[in-house]
């Protein structure tokens, strides 16, 4: 089983690399992109368009080449002046976090591409759209295919309830309108806060205890053991608390979600 | 031995000299008036005498012992200070205010005992504020309030009473009652020093006067010898008429 999966990954990577290197699409190489989204930065690199990126945020740390690109500020406060100075043809912005920057750019009539994925489908759509924008649709399609093939819904009658904790103070979890919620579903689990409409709601401890998740996933460094009142939650009693997952594989709507999904599948179906 | 004795006192704020080398004493049973024009340093001198302010140079002795080598508590058991005006931010009852005079005799968490209540009764009686006992302090007139503050000072069972212009802002009736009260207390053996800027009142009630001018002692002695036209001209810069009080035979000043 384990070998099988490994093989699958290698094949997947090879296919991906093959597509990237063999693709014959041509675009205007002087097209200048500023990406304010770490996920989109990753996506552009996976489309082989890394060389078009002239500016990124300090959060854009993957792939390693991205770190060498000029920084225009951090994710929540990019500098409009630095962006303009780079004379971009396109700026990729995240909504709702970068609403302010978006309106500034609109005023300056700089073209923007909006990234705001609320589901897996949104991610695929955005990939296709950025592919269209850059004239790299075929490459985009192949990345989409790669992701779709690797993120296939697990058929199971025994769906595990999952609680994802993004922050412990206060408790922040994920609601229905997130791609992570989709990933959990696809991996054979059910997010215990699937009924909440907000994407990243603050919840009370009591609700978590009452909903009694079978699996707890912590996307922060703090522990879940020893919390008052939590001792009888199934996940805690059965030692099914996971905290060493790479949050970049789960929180960044980019090609590395495939890795995150694989880990989720392992955790949920173990 | 004097009740209070100040030797070569110097005091200044930053670089402004307030008291410039004053030596003075308050003997036992004395009723001393400290007079002088505004800003002469009278009130500062009073605060130095009761230890609220510390002299920059010089020494003050309380019954022959250095004042600043004694705890503030011990000082408060000997000297009671009555400020010019007290603002009562909290509306205590009159009895509560007078009871605060027992503070120097209380340890933390020690409840008031019979001795305290006797002292409070005696003080309220002496200052004639018993009838206000349960009234909130801020419901009294300023003259009545001043009597309550004096009662609080008496509850300290002091040997020395220092007062800073106790009759300013008061009408004739209250001026009279307060000064009569002080005279009575003095007769009972309490040494008193009063800062006054009303020269006539000081002349009527004080046995001795000290005139402070520009931080120095300008003159001291009995009212009869001290209050004269030349002094008023030099210190206050005005010409006045001085006559003798028809009954008490002390000088009174007329503009």
């Amino acid at each position: 089983m384990f070998l099988h999966r490994k093989l699958f990954v290698i094949i997947g990577c090879l296919i991906l690399l093959g597509f990237i290197s063999c693709a014959q699409e041509h675009t205007n190489s002087s097209y200048r992109v500023v990406s304010l989204s770490p996920a989109m930065t990753e996506m552009l690199f996976s489309l082989g368009a890394g060389d078009k990126i002239v500016g990124v945020t300090t959060y854009c740390d993957f792939p390693p080449q991205a770190r060498k690109i000029r920084k225009v500020g951090d994710f929540s406060n990019p500098s409009i002046e630095r962006i303009v100075a780079l004379k971009p043809d396109l700026v990729i912005v995240n909504l709702p976090e970068q609403k302010r920057i978006k309106s500034e750019l609109d005023k300056l009539e700089i073209k923007t591409f909006i990234s705001s994925p609320k589901s897996l489908q949104d991610i695929y759509k955005e990939l296709a759209a950025i592919g269209d924008t850059l004239g790299l649709r075929r490459r985009a399609d192949s990345v989409i295919n790669y992701m779709k093939q690797n993120i296939q819904t697990v058929r199971t009658s025994d769906r595990k309830s999952v609680y994802v904790e993004i922050s412990p103070k206060p408790l922040i979890t994920i609601g229905a309108a997130t791609f992570l919620n989709d990933l959990i579903n696809a991996a054979g689990g059910t997010n215990i806060f699937e009924d909440l409409e907000k994407d990243y709601p603050v919840v009370g401890q009591e609700t978590v205890i009452r909903r009694n998740p079978e699996i707890i996933i912590l996307l922060h460094p703090e522990d879940a053991s020893g919390r008052t009142g939590w001792q009888n939650i199934q996940a805690i009693k059965n030692d099914r608390v996971f905290k060493n997952l790479n949050p970049d594989h789960l929180m960044r709507p980019g090609p590395r979600l495939v890795d995150g999904f694989r880990e989720l599948k392992r955790i949920i179906n173990d | 031995m004097n009740a209070l004795e100040a030797r070569s006192i110097q005091f200044y704020y930053d670089k402004t000299q307030i008291i410039d080398n004053i030596s003075m004493s308050l003997s036992r049973g004395e009723f001393l008036g400290i007079i002088g024009p505004n800003g002469a340093g009278k009130s500062t001198m009073l605060r130095l005498l009761c230890g609220i302010l510390r002299p920059k140079q010089g020494e003050i002795q309380l019954f022959g012992k250095n004042l600043h080598e004694q705890s503030q508590r011990t000082i408060a058991q000997n000297i009671a200070f009555v400020p010019q005006e007290t603002h009562f931010a909290l509306n205590f009852s009159v009895e509560d205010v007078v009871l605060m005079g027992r503070y120097p005799y209380k340890r933390p968490f020690q409840p008031e005992d019979q001795k305290d209540h006797t002292a409070v009764e005696h003080a309220m009686n002496a200052a004639n504020v018993e009838q206000f006992r349960n009234r909130p302090i801020n419901s009294l007139s300023s003259g009545e309030r001043q009597r309550v503050v004096i009662a609080r000072a008496l509850a300290q069972a002091p040997r020395i009473l220092l007062l800073d212009e106790p009759t300013s802002h008061l009408d004739l009736h209250h001026q009279h009652t307060i000064m009569e009260l002080l005279e009575r207390l003095n007769n009972e053996g309490i040494s008193i020093a009063v800062v006054h800027h009303d020269l006539n009142l000081a002349s009527l009630y004080c046995k001795n006067l000290i005139l402070i001018h520009a931080g120095k002692i300008y003159a001291e002695g009995k009212p009869a010898g001290l209050l004269n036209k030349k002094m008023v001209r030099e210190v206050y810069g005005i010409e006045v008429t001085i006559v003798s009080h028809p009954e008490k035979n002390v000088p009174q000043i007329f503009l």
Partner: protein, 301 residues
């Protein structure tokens, strides 16, 4: 006497509501959770009101409390700095922040032989602004810690209690019981100092020592409280006034009554914060909603 019994009964009702009211049905785990939340509420509310009573007495100013004096903001700054530098709230930094800002405000308002009461509040407000800007810089630099700092600034009782903060909470309770008992010895001094520092000095109070002890202790209590539940505003402002309305001006009753009423008020506010929306609201939001109009009323009076 009847008033004392009445506030004790209301206090017990507040505890009962704190335990019984909530989004889910009560069972042994939820009971544990709500009990710890109630204990936290009692001590945080009690201490903030107690400190408010102390500081209003010390400065003779009815608008003073840990929040308006800037020391709560100072503590929040210290705590945020701890989150930013060490990834966890540092009670020592919170204490230092509270103490530092408090002293700065005190120095600004101090003149020879007294304090300017209006300047005290002005300096407190100015320092609160300064601390807020510094906290915002930390929030911008930090990013990930943003939510934690946000809740720290607003005050929140629904925190997770685990091995790391349990010690701190027990320390808060122990220190506060000790300090409250210790500071009670100053009830006479607080009564007297309301009549001015000269009167107090004349009655034999060592003003400097007394101010230092009260100031230092309340900074310690505020720092500790803020580092656990955040900067909850206005409890320390309102409660001492309510206490004085009920029990008169004497501090021997007010200090205790403020503690009890502060605990009661925060418990009610916390219960309210849990039921007015489906999400968990920071309790500081509720106390401010009640506190701000009250503050304006006091200022206008």
């Amino acid at each position: 006497m009847t008033k004392t019994i009445a506030i004790i009964i209301i206090f017990l009702i507040a505890i009962a509501l704190g335990i019984l009211v909530g989004p889910t049905r009560l069972d042994s785990e939820i009971l544990q959770l709500r009990l710890s939340r109630v204990v936290l509420g009692i001590f945080a509310g009690g201490i903030l009101a107690f400190c408010g009573c102390l500081l209003q007495g010390l400065f003779g100013n009815p608008l003073v409390e840990p929040y308006t004096l800037g020391s709560a903001s100072g503590a929040a700054l210290g705590a945020s700095l701890g989150i930013f530098l060490f990834g966890a709230i540092s009670p020592i930094l919170a204490f230092l922040g509270s103490l530092g800002v408090g002293f700065f405000v005190y120095t600004i308002a101090r003149i020879e032989g007294g304090l300017l009461r209006d300047r005290l509040i002005l300096a407190g407000v100015v320092m609160s602004f300064l601390c807020s800007s510094l906290v915002m810089i930390i929030m911008v630099l930090g990013g990930r810690e943003l939510y934690e700092i946000l809740y720290l600034l607003m005050g929140y009782l629904g925190i997770i209690i685990n091995a790391t903060n349990r010690v701190m909470i027990i320390a808060l309770i122990a220190i506060s019981i000790g300090l409250v008992a210790f500071l009670y010895r100053y009830h006479r001094e607080l009564d007297i100092i309301s009549q001015g520092t000269e009167t107090a000095a004349g009655l034999g109070i060592d003003i400097q020592k007394f101010s230092l002890v009260v100031f230092f202790s309340s900074a310690l209590l505020v720092g500790l409280t803020v580092s656990i539940v955040g900067a909850i505003g206005f409890v320390g402002l309102i409660i001492p006034h309510v206490s004085k309305l009920l029990f008169g001006p004497k501090h021997i009753r007010n200090l205790g009554a403020s503690f009890l009423l502060g605990a009661t008020f925060l418990l009610f506010a916390d219960t309210l914060s849990r039921v007015i929306t489906v999400y968990e609201l920071p309790v500081g939001v509720v106390t401010s909603l009640v506190g701000v109009p009250f503050f304006i009323y006091l200022y206008k009076r």
